[in-house]
Subunit: 287 residues, 2 copies
């Protein structure tokens, strides 16, 4: 497995494979890879002939008071993990490669980015959509893989691809959890042992919601109250708890068929997110 | 030469040619083709193996009080002209093809679009960059052709391509003029016989500027005054006259080496633009 750092190198590599009609998969990551990312790489290896993993801690998606500086950077371990999973090449550019001049052009998806994480993290999604547009243009994959863990991001990226007629498919892979239910996240590394226990409140709140829905509860206000209680019992600082339409991200009052339940909670200084998809027409899977 | 109206058809056509390693050229137009467009098609035919001309009057680049409704639509004549010039296919989508749902995602280039035509036509360039991003993603050309007549547009598109790492080259072709000097424009069709004479003031102002620069004048304020006089003698309503840095579009006070002289003038209800590139290091060509 190769590791390349420049746009020219990755383009040359992919071009060579495309000329052999290879199906190219891209897994865009910020590194600090865990089994969640691993599942994306595995899906890509399964479905594609040539798998690119990009590792780039993208400065434009961090707010000024956020954790860009301390975000974990573990390229050697990440590379070994990708190789073990069967990835073909890692594209790990510098910030200067990706942003050689002042970035004047931005890709922005309205409405869907103005709620939930977009409200707490102004500019975050504009950074995400812009860097993904750049990565898609650089790598020109047939498929790109994202995790359901970042549910709003997945919805925004899919909308961007559709709105701009980008010539690739987006695959969204299920959330991967630790044995006790905590959703895998690179930011879990920030948690102390005590915070690690507290952090389980996101998962517990979502399972509580799922049980109540299974028992017939459809009132969003009551479901949110129940989740709030679970999180507060664990001293989590709630950023938001929302139950929304999974297409429009509009808040629901009642669950009628499909719904997306999202939670964002600060555990100490670490902001964690998790979510649950509900579809009353299909049997619920344990999360 | 084929004419297709759907994204699927144009993609299939281009894909077939790409598989034969054809170099694909795109000439994006709004139709109502004149010899200016013709020069773009000719350049594409010269340099590419497969030439797509897109004809789409893009609603998102017109302001609410602008001429979207009355913009000339002459598909049959345009098609005959493209065929005669050697184009391979016309892509003439409907607005529903290009915007099947609410467009939430926009490509926007900051700063360069906030001055000159961007100031008079808020939202115009966001519509242009977004539709060009869509067309580039649909057609996936190796080269796309634009006219120097729309100088600011050419600069914005080039910056968008660079900022977003779009995998194509942009070629800018020289302004094509009528025998008397009027820059070719689809909007010239709006002019009455009297207005047609008045409209020559844009060209006359630019040639006046060029003569004064040739005679040693370097003071932008004085050059602009001279151009203003020419335009006012012809009863043109000045929107702007600017002399700017051709890279940043920042206004200059003095011409030191390269400069871009731009004029936008209303002749009756018709808004016309024209421009002149200056480079003190190379001998000036008559415009």
């Amino acid at each position: 497995m190769r590791i390349v750092h420049t746009i020219n190198e990755i383009r040359q590599s992919v071009l060579g494979k495309k000329q052999q009609n290879a199906r190219v998969g891209l897994v865009p990551t910020m590194g600090a890879l865990h089994a969640g990312h691993g599942s994306l790489v595995e899906a890509a290896v399964e479905e594609c002939d040539f798998v690119v993993v990009s590792i780039f801690v993208n400065p434009t998606q961090f707010g000024p008071s956020e954790d860009f500086e301390k975000y974990p950077r573990t390229l050697d371990t990440d590379a070994a993990y990708c190789e073990q999973l069967g990835a073909d090449i890692i594209f790990a550019p510098s910030a200067d490669q990706m942003y050689p001049a002042e970035q004047l052009t931005w890709v922005d998806t309205e409405k869907l980015t103005e709620v939930l994480c977009g409200q707490s993290r102004p500019g975050h999604f504009r950074g995400v959509t812009t860097v993904c547009a750049k990565l898609f243009n650089i790598v020109q994959p047939d498929l790109a893989y994202f995790g359901q863990k970042d549910a709003q991001q997945a919805i925004v990226i899919q909308r961007m691809v559709k709105d701009l007629n980008m010539p690739l498919e987006i695959h969204i892979c299920p959330i991967v959890r630790e044995d006790d239910g905590l959703a895998m996240s690179s930011r879990n590394k920030y948690l102390s042992a005590d915070q690690r226990k507290q952090a389980l409140c996101l998962y517990k709140a979502l399972t509580e919601c799922q049980s109540q829905v299974a028992a017939g509860q459809r009132q969003v206000a009551l479901l949110i109250d129940a989740m709030k209680q679970v999180i507060q019992q664990h001293q989590g600082q709630i950023d938001y708890i929302s139950i929304v339409d999974p297409q429009t991200l509009d808040s629901l009052e009642q669950i009628k068929q499909k719904a997306l339940v999202l939670v964002a909670v600060n555990i100490g200084k670490t902001r964690l997110i998790d979510n649950l998809s509900i579809d009353l027409n299909t049997p619920a899977n344990p999360i």
